[in-house]
Symmetry: none
Subunit: 285 residues, 2 copies
DNA sequence: CTTGTTTTTGTAACTTTACTACATTTAGAC
DNA sequence: GTCTAAATGTAGTAAAGTTACAAAAACAAG
């Protein structure tokens, strides 16, 4: 991964002073490469060794090496740079930055994907008798989306963000039932409980969540998206986008695995949806 | 023209010693950027000021600046490719292709965004008394997600994918109420009806949908994502991702517009959510 | 082929820049 | 509150780059 994106993605690993340096560099990277360590330190209101340590933490040999790598990372004509939103940004800038950081996060997620659990998930879903997608908060809409896709298929599927409904489903689950639990952190208590119940019933519990999290402990399979820390400090953004794309990939795999006859069915479903829409010609004004 | 090409093309303008330096750099440019001026001079069997003069002749401020420019001239990017999924692709290939095509679609969407309706949407939302997010099918989960974000805010908001609930809300809507209608095609009959009702009641109807569609006719504001044809022929994929990111941008704009005090509130909401999660064990800060 | 002039190159002092060792402060754990 | 560990800063040192100037080389004219 290139340096400038690493700076923004590893921001949480930095100390307070180092974060000041990171913010400054992300704000005006073109300017930073022409500064000396002393002037950069002064501007960031930290000491010179702090800047030096910051460079080392990023794997550079020292400050000059850091500048070199930063310059390369800038020259790369990076299609998208991951920079923080500033207080005085206008709407256009904000929009571009949000798109950029999402693109960046997705690109990183793509590179760090492990296809084995994805393949195993596809297998499990193809063999499933019924499928449930559960999640809370932002992950609820991800689960909602996943179920919406599976509604096109012939395997019964449900979505719920209601703990009681989820619990009932988990209690009634059996082997060959699949439960897909979605949670970015993997630490949502309620969801862990549900997963544990389904697991006890020998259902296949799949977690789209963080590895080594309490939730993943209760999952037979864990699929993770290695997304850098979200841009926005208040709510999940890029992480859930990565989850959605991951689910798209799983669905694409599922569709292919089911074979050509299955895809014929899908075409019929699509055709059937037309009745709910205005046709193209009639309404064009 | 970039530096390294200039060095080779202007060789005849250099003096004898300078040519030695040029030859060395053209031979192994990657190595040169990691050398000090002294070591480079020794290697080229010239003096240090000669190297310095050489840099100046190329329009650089000095040797460090020269290294920086050389580094940039060496760097190059790697774009992602948009390829269709083949019948015999394995899961890994499918996953990569889905991610690639989503990245591609997002990147195109970013470039073709018009910030004016986005800014107007932010304005409308900031001034809203209550907000509704409606959509059907795949767009329902997008609406769901949007409402989930707004649940953190102090303006009352609802999500629904139930036509009756939507109709009731629309009938009761008033000026300063905002209705956000989400539909990729903009041709979903049920949603158009709802939009028309709310529009008649002088509510602000915002469409996240296709321009010049039946739905956009009933909207005061239309925000569009110009997404290329979806990869998958059976269900929306990239289009709804673009919608979600667009909504993220709107929310980021909204959050900023509301000012610092508002963001303090958000921090408190986030803090309050911790109770629903298992705490992190002592790993890294 | 000299001698004066210009250009090129190198030497050495100087300035700036970056790094290291250590002291101080701050934050966290008990 | 006290102890411990981490983070940050201070000051000194080493290294790198630049400048001024002198020596050498190249060139031209007598």
């Amino acid at each position: 991964m290139d340096l400038i994106n690493r700076i923004s993605s590893e921001q949480n690993q930095f100390s307070k002073s180092e974060r000041k340096v990171a913010a400054l560099i992300l704000h005006e990277p073109e300017q930073a490469i022409h500064r000396s360590i002393a002037s950069l330190a002064a501007l960031a209101e930290v000491s010179e060794p702090t800047v030096n340590r910051f460079c080392r933490r990023l794997g550079c040999k020292g400050y000059p090496d850091f500048k070199l790598q930063l310059a390369q990372s800038l020259a790369q004509g990076t299609p998208f740079v991951n920079r923080d939103i500033e207080e005085d940004d206008n709407v256009d800038q904000i929009t571009q930055k949000i798109f950029d950081s999402t693109l960046n996060a997705l690109s990183i997620a793509r590179q760090s994907l492990d296809s084995r659990p994805i393949a195993a998930t596809v297998e499990a879903l193809v063999g499933a008798r019924k499928i449930a997608f559960f999640g809370f908060g932002a992950s609820a809409s991800v689960a909602h989306d996943a179920q919406n896709k599976f509604a096109r298929f012939d395997t019964p599927s449900v979505f719920s963000d209601d703990p009681l409904v989820q619990r009932m489903w988990a209690i009634n689950s059996e082997p060959h039932d699949v439960l897909v639990c979605i949670s970015h952190t993997g630490r949502t208590k309620a969801l862990c409980e549900i997963a544990a119940i389904a697991h006890d019933n020998k259902a296949t519990v799949i977690g789209i969540t963080a590895p080594n999290s309490p939730l993943s402990e209760n999952c037979q399979l864990t699929v993770s998206t290695n997304v850098p820390e979200d841009t926005d400090q208040y709510m999940p953004m890029a992480s859930r986008i990565a989850q959605l794309v991951l689910i798209d990939a799983i669905i694409a795999g599922y569709t292919l695995q089911r074979g050509p006859k299955f895809r014929e069915k899908l075409a019929r479903v699509k055709e059937g949806l037309k009745g709910s829409r205005y046709s193209k010609q009639a309404t064009t004004k």
